[in-house]
């Protein structure tokens, strides 16, 4: 415990201490009132409640209510707050982490939470057969051992200073060891977590209702008696119900509706800049996109500011193909890519298409933004010689037949908590949802090194280089970052949204009916 080389650890521990103070409500005023049912509307189905697998926009708030993790993403920042772990310590080279677990926590079924549950959960996440989306950000963990009932040690294969952020991954919430030993199908419909709310009823086509868990570890919380997640497959019906006061919170507001929702009386609309993006996937293990000149030509054919205005109603920022948005600590100043059809045309000719090229781009119909971006790009790229046919298809067909198989399609991703998670989601050769066939060894190596480097300056240099390689090769066209939009009625206190759209802190929410 000397001061030598300990600055990273101090940062980590200091952070834990700073936020160990009970969550002081920001955006709150007055004394929270106990009771009431919060109704949240959403437009995508809650297909599963399996915390190890789920990935839907309306599934994340559910998992955030039902389960707790070792750590949790702090409100408004990309750093880790204590959750089931009260504090943690890393060794000097950040290759070994020791987490002290909270005492007296119980699962919804009354069984006590111990280190055995942590070990079982992490072993399941690290088991490739489970296919957990959290694995890609946690696969540096070599072993997890329980030192005693309330202390767990993670031994890493390589240094990884961001481990406490990775343990906050939405799919890395703690499941009881008994549940993992039993019938795994029960995870889908009978979640047993340690979160502030427990499941009362689950109807994936209509309403999911959660009720207060009285033994939640935060004293006196949650304030609400119950939370209902109402599904509205029709967006117009969703806004109408919100505006009439039938629901209290609209989880996601559409850009086209935002101005109307924000202007409505008694409605608080919230807009948070985020690193969410629609990306053009161009598969590079076959013609025509194996030629970087073609990809660069398309990149020059997209008017990014116009796209923000047309598709996002200005509720976003233009992006210049960098998968790392400016919110990230190590984001570089990405050079602007001008809209230059003439230069694109020249580049296209150089690539062997002097008379232009015909392409078919697939855009699934959900959410509508994919199709809108596709149609806008089709028109913008026409003067450069791109003759793009947009093929719309139902989202399920897209997932089954095109996603990660097609050569040219629109994808849509949310923001990740760290640079490492961002790169390992899509771009490295072993990424969870790798779909470009880019396979750049130098990039892979940089991401690997970035992960095990703890010195911030050194890390910044490594991640800058990785981003430069990405920008040089244009594996994706990323034309804009989309703001996260949500809205709540004015009697709802404490409703927040994080740029990551993964944590919601609903135990802090209360209804001011006075």
């Amino acid at each position: 415990m000397t001061n030598l080389k300990a600055n990273r650890r101090e940062v980590v521990i200091g952070l834990a201490a700073a936020s160990a103070v009970p969550a002081i409500g920001f955006a709150q005023s007055g004394t929270p009132e106990i009771g009431g049912t919060l109704k949240i509307s959403h437009s995508t189905r809650i297909a599963t409640l399996n915390v190890m697998q789920l990935s839907g926009p309306a599934e994340y708030p559910c998992v955030d209510m039902l389960y707790s993790g070792l750590t949790r993403i702090a409100p408004g920042r990309n750093s880790a707050d204590p959750d089931l772990a009260t504090s943690w310590e890393a060794n000097d080279d950040a290759s070994q982490f020791t987490f002290s677990l909270r005492q007296g926590v119980t699962f919804h079924d009354g069984t006590p939470f111990t280190s055995a549950d942590v070990v079982a959960t992490y072993e399941a996440i690290l088991n490739p057969e489970f296919g957990s989306p959290a694995r890609s950000v946690l696969d540096m963990i070599g072993s997890v051992e329980a030192l005693d009932d309330h202390t767990v040690r993670f031994n890493l294969n390589s240094s990884y200073a961001d481990l406490p952020i990775s343990t906050a991954h939405a799919n890395a919430r703690i499941v009881s060891a008994a549940a993992l030993a039993g019938d795994l199908n029960d995870l889908e419909t009978k979640p047993n977590g340690t979160g502030p709310f427990k499941l009362e009823s689950y109807d994936s086509a209509r309403i999911t209702r959660l009720v207060r868990f009285d033994d939640y570890y935060k004293e006196g919380q949650p304030y609400l008696d119950a939370v209902e997640m109402h599904l509205f497959p029709d967006l117009a019906a969703e806004s109408a119900n919100y505006l009439s006061g039938n629901v209290d919170v609209m989880l996601n507001v559409q850009q086209a509706d935002y101005a109307r929702i924000a202007a409505a009386e008694g409605s608080n609309a919230l807009r948070v800049p985020a690193g969410r993006y629609v990306n053009v996937v161009m598969r590079q293990d076959q013609p025509p996109f194996d030629d970087v000149r073609l990809r660069k030509a398309l990149a020059l054919s997209v008017d990014r500011q116009l796209l923000v205005d047309l598709v996002l109603e200005g509720l976003g920022r233009p992006a210049y193909d960098n998968i790392v948005s400016p919110e990230f600590q190590y984001a570089i100043d990405t050079p602007e890519i001008p809209y230059d059809p003439a230069a694109a045309k020249a580049l296209l000719a150089e690539a062997g298409y002097p008379d232009g090229i015909e392409l078919t781009m697939v855009a699934s119909n959900r959410p509508a933004i994919r199709g809108q971006v596709a149609i806008a790009i089709k028109e913008m790229a026409r003067p450069a010689g791109f003759d793009i046919e947009v093929e719309a298809m139902p989202h399920d067909t897209y997932l089954a037949n095109v996603w990660r198989k097609g050569t040219f399609y629109m994808a849509y991703w949310g923001m990740q908590p760290t640079e490492d998670a961002t790169f390992n989601l899509l771009l490295t050769s072993t990424a969870s949802y790798e779909d470009t066939a880019w396979f750049n060894e130098e990039f892979d190596e940089l991401v690997r090194r970035g992960r095990s480097t703890s010195d911030p300056a050194e890390r910044a240099a490594i991640y800058a280089k990785a981003q430069e390689i990405q920008l040089r090769d244009t594996p994706y066209i990323i034309a804009m970052y989309q703001d996260v939009l949500t809205a709540s009625r004015d009697w709802v206190r404490g409703w927040t949204v994080h740029p990551l759209n993964r944590v919601f802190y609903i135990e802090d929410v209360w209804l001011d009916r006075a």
Partner: protein, 272 residues
């Protein structure tokens, strides 16, 4: 023909259909702008001198889109009805002429299908075939077939016992001759009337499928799809939804009125 023009419904129907027909034939030529070109500076604006019917969410000229979309929207209705009428007539005439157990089997099967509402039946078929204009057209045609078969059969049955058919039978004419020369020419009237009215339903079902994302696909200018794409901007600029909606209604109304007048002209009983 003079009958048609004299009745007010017929006249209105003919006028509406002429307008629609002009749009179908000359739409692409008449369109003032490229229907896919963006005009970002004036997006979601109401009618103006430059854009007579306003612009949509990408700033595309709605009048141009409407004119170029006429052919795909109307021809969809006409095409689907034509296929349905042809298939239905063949089945209906066969059942009517052959009679006996063949008739019973065919008609009971069709009765069963008739019990399923048209739109539901169409959705079922489209779900099975997959979305797209061709598939949607086929689905509407299939959904129309049972009804058309029933009408064709009843016309055939009423004609089968007429004197001129009896005479042909007495002359020992061949079955084929009787059907093609005596039965069909006399049974075709009600079928044409029904078909005209059905075109309006076909247009509306086509627009519905486009609206639901199962028919034409963006960036097509099919009218139903235009409504669907613009729907989320409805509160900002009602024009975007209203214009293609009215266009669908007008053409459906045109076919409906024309069909009504046609029926009045064909069925003398209704005349004073």
């Amino acid at each position: 023909m003079s009958e048609l023009v004299r009745s007010p419904t017929g006249l209105v129907g003919i006028v509406l259909l002429t307008v629609v027909a002009l749009a179908v034939v000359f739409g692409t030529v008449l369109a003032p702008y490229d229907p896919q070109a963006f005009h970002p500076a004036v997006r979601l604006t109401g009618p103006s001198k430059a854009h007579w019917l306003g612009t949509d969410q990408f700033g595309r000229d709605i009048l141009s889109r409407l004119l170029t979309g006429a052919s795909s929207t109307i021809l969809f209705g006409v095409g689907a009805t034509a296929i349905g009428v042809f298939a239905g007539s063949v089945i209906g005439v066969t059942a009517g002429v052959l009679g006996g157990w063949v008739d019973s089997v065919i008609m009971r099967t069709l009765d069963g299908l008739l019990a399923v509402p048209d739109l539901l039946f169409t959705l079922l078929i489209v779900t099975f075939l997959g979305g797209g204009t061709g598939e949607a057209m086929l689905a509407v045609a299939v959904a129309f077939t049972p009804g058309m078969a029933r009408i064709a059969r009843s016309s055939v049955l009423s004609i089968r016992t007429r004197e001129y058919v009896m005479a042909a039978v007495a002359r020992d004419e061949s079955q084929a001759y009787i059907i093609s020369q005596e039965v069909i020419p006399n049974a075709i009237g009600p079928i044409i009337v029904e078909a005209t009215i059905r075109v309006s339903f076909a247009i509306m079902i086509g627009a519905t499928l486009g609206f639901l994302g199962l028919g034409a696909q963006p960036p097509s200018t099919e009218w139903g799809l235009m409504v669907a794409e613009a729907r989320q901007y409805m509160y900002r600029s009602p024009w975007v939804v209203a214009v293609p909606g009215i266009a669908i209604a007008v053409s459906a109304l045109g076919f409906n009125l024309f069909g009504d007048a046609l029926r009045d002209a064909f069925v003398p009983r209704g005349r004073r």
